[in-house]
């Protein structure tokens, strides 16, 4: 178990290393680093100060050390577009809005995706299964940005039921959270359905039925828990897609979160802010993956306790 957790953490650190390297290399190698790291309207003296600050006169590997040291302290430089603020401060001011939207979307994903996945598996081939699978197909195929725009057009412009954009109270959560959640619902539904179909065929389910347990008990206790094992390994990828979807959704709905910030900063060439967001997001992904690994061990005793692990 200790070894397992350690592996998970080391893998996470390696991922962070890769992202930091990408970001660093982009700023230093592609074109003129000074031009990337400073706003175009900056004075000569200030530019020289920034260059000295980041050690741009030193060899490249020393520059990377400086970069990492500063990144670890949350220092990514000052924002070009927001005056008198560091990149980190700008991100922190936007983070709560993203967290609220993500929370709403995660809630939707759990209360819709999980029951639908179980329902689809237990009603295999029936209309409930077919409609759930159709929903999953749509959820995986629809571009979030377009769904968002169409929703705005119908529900905000035409019907005037909901606000078009921004974070303006509970009703403003409806459209963006559904748009973000749709992909997650589709993914969870599919993964859980196939996991459940597999466990429902296992002999231990037949034996549980012979024990006379109620169908609900069999579904949610005996089939559901082992059915989570396989889908969990895919959760990391689903999460990355969710982040991408959430970024695009924030842009469509002008949601004042980190995703919209990344978009406006990139458009304004505010490199410090964009690179900080990328690293920050990578850190969140890594933390999520480690959590998922722990969850996996908690659910599957074969991982937790070691011993001969048998697939299935």
């Amino acid at each position: 178990m200790g070894r397992y957790v350690l592996t998970s953490i080391v893998r996470g650190l390696l991922t962070l290393f890769a992202v930091s390297l990408i970001v660093f290399v982009l700023a230093r190698i592609s074109g003129d680093p000074i031009a990337v790291l400073t706003p175009s309207d900056m004075s000569k003296e200030d530019r020289a100060a920034v260059a000295a600050n980041w050690g741009l006169d030193k060899p490249i590997h020393e520059q990377y050390v400086v970069f990492v040291q500063r990144a670890l302290q949350g220092d990514f430089g000052d924002s070009f577009t927001v005056s008198q603020a560091t990149a980190t401060e700008v991100i922190w001011s936007r983070f709560p809005a993203t967290l609220r939207l993500a929370g709403a979307a995660l809630l939707l994903i759990t209360i819709a995706g999980v029951p639908l996945g179980v329902l689809a598996a237990t009603r295999r081939g029936k209309w409930a299964d077919r409609s759930a699978r159709f929903l999953a197909l749509i959820g995986q195929s629809i571009p979030e940005f377009w769904l968002g725009l169409v929703a705005i057009w119908i529900f905000a412009v035409r019907l005037r039921w909901l606000p078009t954009s921004g974070d303006t109270g509970p009703s403003s959560y409806v459209m963006p959270s559904i748009v973000v959640a749709l992909f997650g619902i589709a993914a969870i539904l599919r993964l859980l359905r196939s996991g459940m179909l597999e466990t429902l065929q296992a002999e231990y389910i037949k034996l549980a039925r012979l024990q006379g347990f109620s169908p609900t008990r069999i579904r949610w206790r005996h089939a559901f828990k082992p059915a989570l094992i396989a889908p969990l390994t895919f959760f990391g990828q689903v999460f990355v897609h969710l982040i991408a979807g959430a970024t695009v959704t924030e842009i469509v709905f002008n949601w004042p979160g980190v995703g919209l910030l990344a978009f406006t900063s990139a458009a304004g060439r505010d490199f410090p802010v964009v690179q900080a967001i990328a690293l920050f997001t990578a850190a969140i992904i890594v933390a999520t993956n480690i959590t998922v690994d722990l969850l996996y061990a908690w659910i599957d005793p074969r991982v937790r306790l070691g011993g001969k692990a048998v697939a299935g």
Binding site: G125, G212, T281
Partner: protein, 634 residues
């Protein structure tokens, strides 16, 4: 051959491939330059619209239909480039990792995991704020995930093929790694890769559109669909068509690709191939046909224990696309209290379906009991409604399966499984009483150190120990009948003997009736009182074990007995009988064993042999049973 998914194919051809190739000839307008005077013309059918611009024009007066058609070019070329790079890079890395394993495989696996957890949308924005958007950037970013998916698939496939005999043989014969990979492994990875590639094309098109929408993809004014949707973003209140149609194109194409991918996965996967599509609706119960097997060996009512199980003319059919499989096709059988009856047959004889039918656990959506009766203690299980079935089964029936690995839920401890089973039966017991019953249950099946074992998870127990736990659970409800389906097949020889001994012991203590399904006459000899031989869905001979061994009266039984390995070697098949059992879909009218029977006559092909009485309880469904031609021959 299942039906082709025509709709997705048509959508892909009509919206993606044909427009991409023929774009300049399909439309009179210029995709890049518009008529400013014709700005924001609505679609042809909307008021104020014009059919010159069927889907309207955008904010710069460009024809939307034209741009959508040219957009197909961009989508398709991005997709093809990304998939090409992804297949090349991912394919070779996957082959290397899967074939050579070891450290290099670990590194490749780590790279796959890392690439699949990178936030590419945000990295794209980083690149854009450093150097601006470009076509190349889109291809790099999209192929960065494709290769990882491809590599993972190829690696897994390579790993499993590498373990197979023909590869090992090729390696021994001195074939170089490169040749083995080219000749044996690459061809086998093709069909799963087709599925992955199809799904990835959809994903890449979606990613390209997303990137273009946020300004990190194809630089405007190129008519990428994502760029077009972005262009209409601020016009959504006044000119919905500018965003709507390009997005609809993306949705239709990705939807088509995903459903095509799903279809291909089902079609190319050998496991799902037979059961493709939804099964035909099982027909209602049909009246039992009365041919053959009518003569039930009536138990003389001379103070023998009562019958626990009485199966008469049972028919369980499977309804699949391939046809109706008559897995159990008119079986009549009984088991008394304290009696052990064996069912012997080759795999595919229907013996497992017979066992599952008795407890009504045959695969729900494809099978149905279409005729006959299953009486357990007088109650007909075959017609019991689901609500009553649950309690009835819990009180009367139990089962032990072949694979102990599969019989215990991996995520619960032995203790929690036992406790749950005890509580379900005896809800009034206190926690301590439940606990002591669980210990008792384990002790009764000779599990050493039961207190400690209660805290174990199944994977911490050996196969034999697991099977003991399964029998402990089976005994908790004090069942009248246990059906044991190949209970010792997956155990080692010594453990096998111990387990058979345990079953005997449990029966002696409780008087439980045992229906023992096996392919092994050795186990029958050791455990059973009577035996029934099953072939192609029917019992061809039954009788007391002694009688069957001394005077087998059906050529199939004789063949089975002769094929029996001399020593207790573990074999899953009876190898020496020539030929194969008939398909249960197209069964012959006459004797089902005729094609393999050395004594077959013309009459054997004409009608199903009625039962011949050989002795007390001994019946054989062979036309020549009385004549016994096999006796003269040898």
């Amino acid at each position: 051959m299942p039906r082709l998914p025509w709709l997705p194919i048509l959508i892909l051809a009509g919206l993606l491939v044909i427009p991409a190739i023929l774009a300049p000839w399909l439309t009179p307008h210029d995709p890049l330059r518009g008529e400013l005077l014709e700005r924001l013309t609505p679609p042809g059918w909307v008021e104020g619209g014009s059919w010159t611009y069927p889907l309207g024009t955008d904010g710069q007066g460009r024809d939307i239909l034209t741009r959508i058609i040219f957009g197909a070019r961009i989508s398709l070329s991005v997709a093809m480039s990304a998939i090409g790079i992804g297949l090349l890079v991912g394919g070779s890395l996957g082959l290397v990792g899967g074939y050579f394993g070891g450290f290099i495989d670990k590194v490749i696996m780590w790279m796959i995991d890392t690439f699949l957890s990178l936030p590419f949308v945000l990295l794209a924005l980083v690149v854009v704020s450093a150097i601006g958007p470009s076509f190349q950037l889109v291809i790099v970013l999209t192929s960065a995930t494709v290769w990882a998916y491809v590599a993972r698939q190829v690696r897994g496939e390579t790993l499993s093929i590498r373990e197979q005999d023909f590869v090992a043989r090729a390696r021994v014969s001195g074939l170089s790694a490169l040749k083995i990979i080219r000749r044996h492994i690459v061809p086998n990875t093709v069909s799963p890769l087709i599925v992955v590639a199809t799904l990835q094309v959809g994903l890449v098109i979606l990613e390209e559109a997303s990137l273009s929408f946020i300004g990190a993809g194809i630089p405007p004014p190129n008519p990428s669909w994502g760029v077009m949707v972005a262009g209409g973003r601020d016009l959504i209140a006044s000119a919905w068509w500018v965003s709507f149609f390009p997005g609809l194109a993306i949705l239709s194409i990705v939807l088509a690709l995903n459903s095509l991918g799903d279809w291909l996965r089902d079609y190319l996967d050998p496991r799902t191939r037979q059961q493709m599509g939804s099964p035909l609706r099982p027909a209602g119960r049909t009246p039992a046909r009365g041919d053959g097997q009518a003569g039930v060996p009536e138990h003389p009512s001379d103070g023998l224990p009562p019958a626990v199980l009485e199966v008469s003319d049972l028919r369980t059919y499977l309804f699949t696309r391939a046809g109706v499989t008559r897995a159990v096709d008119g079986v009549t059988l009984s088991v008394r209290e304290s009696e052990t009856v064996g069912i012997v047959g080759e795999s595919g004889s229907g013996k497992t379906m017979l066992g599952l039918s008795i407890v009504r656990l045959t695969p729900e959506h494809v099978s149905r009991i279409v005729g006959g009766e299953i009486r357990v203690g007088g109650t007909d299980v075959s017609t019991l409604p689901e609500s009553e079935l649950r309690g009835f089964r819990a009180a009367n029936l139990s089962m032990i399966f072949q694979d102990p690995e599969q019989s215990l839920n991996p995520v619960f401890t032995v203790g929690s499984l036992l406790n749950e089973a005890i509580r379900a039966r005896f809800p009034d017991l206190s926690a301590a009483q439940v606990q002591s019953r669980a210990v008792e249950a384990l002790r009764s099946v000779n599990v050493p150190d039961p207190e400690r074992r209660l805290r174990s998870f199944p994977h911490q127990l050996s196969g034999g120990m697991k099977q003991r736990v399964v029998s402990a659970m089976a005994m908790i409800g004090q069942p009248k009948l246990i059906i044991a389906d190949e209970p010792t097949t997956s155990l080692d020889a010594t453990i096998q003997a111990q387990f058979l001994h345990l079953l005997k012991d449990l029966q002696a203590r409780t008087g439980v009736a045992l229906l023992l399904i096996t392919h092994d006459f050795g186990i029958i000899a050791e455990l059973a009182d009577r035996v029934a031989v099953m072939y192609a869905g029917r019992l061809v001979e039954q009788g007391a074990v002694r009688d069957i061994f001394n005077r087998p009266s059906h050529p199939y039984t004789r063949a089975l007995l002769e094929a029996r390995p001399a020593a207790h070697t573990r074999t899953d098949r009876l190898k020496t009988i020539e030929g194969n059992p008939p398909s249960l879909i197209d069964l012959p009218v006459g004797c089902r064993f005729a094609p393999r029977c050395a004594y077959a006559t013309e009459e054997c092909d004409e009608r199903y042999p009625p039962e011949t009485v050989i002795g007390e309880l001994h019946r054989s469904a062979c036309l020549r049973a009385e004549e016994e031609p096999w006796l003269n021959r040898s």
